[in-house]
């Protein structure tokens, strides 16, 4: 009985967390013009929350994890420390990934017209808040 209650409380907490993460993703999209969408994923590629339109989010979360592994090794091997962010510019826009706490990342898609300076500014703050949200509700060890 107690375990069932605990599980239910845990589920409620997860739903609340997803609502908070979605609110943060939407706020980011609101603050930075020309953003196409964003998602939060764990470093091993599991999708946690997304606000993407027209992009398949689970695939993007998995790809993010693969790119993250490489970026982390690149940063490590050149003595740059922990991964902070990466920016990929394609012909039709940008894909940016920011560390959100120690076990999750924030990935955003942006149109080519985006103001990258502003994207960095706002997304870094968002990633920081997302990291706090995740660690508050899941605990640093349980994330991912």
């Amino acid at each position: 009985m107690r375990r069932a209650l605990k599980q239910r409380a845990g589920r409620r907490q997860l739903i609340a967390l997803e609502t908070d993460l979605l609110a943060e993703l939407r706020a980011l999209r609101h603050r930075v013009p020309h953003l196409a969408g964003g998602l939060v994923a764990s470093v091993d590629g599991l999708l946690i929350a997304h606000d993407t339109h027209g992009t398949e989010p689970t695939g993007l979360a998995a790809l993010t994890a693969a790119a993250l592994g490489l970026a982390q090794r690149l940063a490590d091997n050149t003595g740059q420390g922990d991964f902070r962010e990466s920016l990929v510019r394609g012909e039709h826009g940008y894909v940016a990934t920011y560390a959100a706490g120690s076990a999750c990342v924030l990935t955003v898609l942006a149109h080519p017209d985006v103001n990258v300076g502003r994207l960095h500014l706002e997304a870094r703050r968002s990633a920081e808040r997302i990291g706090v949200l995740l660690e508050d509700s899941l605990g640093p060890k349980e994330v991912g």
Partner: protein
Amino acid sequence: MTDVDGTLKAAMTTIEGAIGAALVDYNSGMALGILDGAGGLDLNVAAAGNTDVVRAKMRTMDMLGLKDGIEDILITLSTQYHMIRPLGGRTGKGLFLYLALDRGRANLAMARHQLTKIEADLEI
């Protein structure tokens, strides 16, 4: 001819009242160079924010059907002047100089005149 750092240094030292200068790419909103004075401004934030100002003005001119260029944009605060000067010339395309001035010490006409000269010397 002066490089980016030299240009920012020249702006900060020769223009009376200068408290911060940046050279910004308004296609990306990122600064190519910043030089912080006593202003305590976060110039990377200023670069991103003023990129939106420049883009908005260019869009407005486009909507008005004005086939003209922006020489400079002046924003007057109660204690500061902020000047934005999109660069002309072949190498300066897509860039602007941003200069923050202490209103109490700066001479606006002189600052504009000197910034024009500094811009002409800039080679990227």
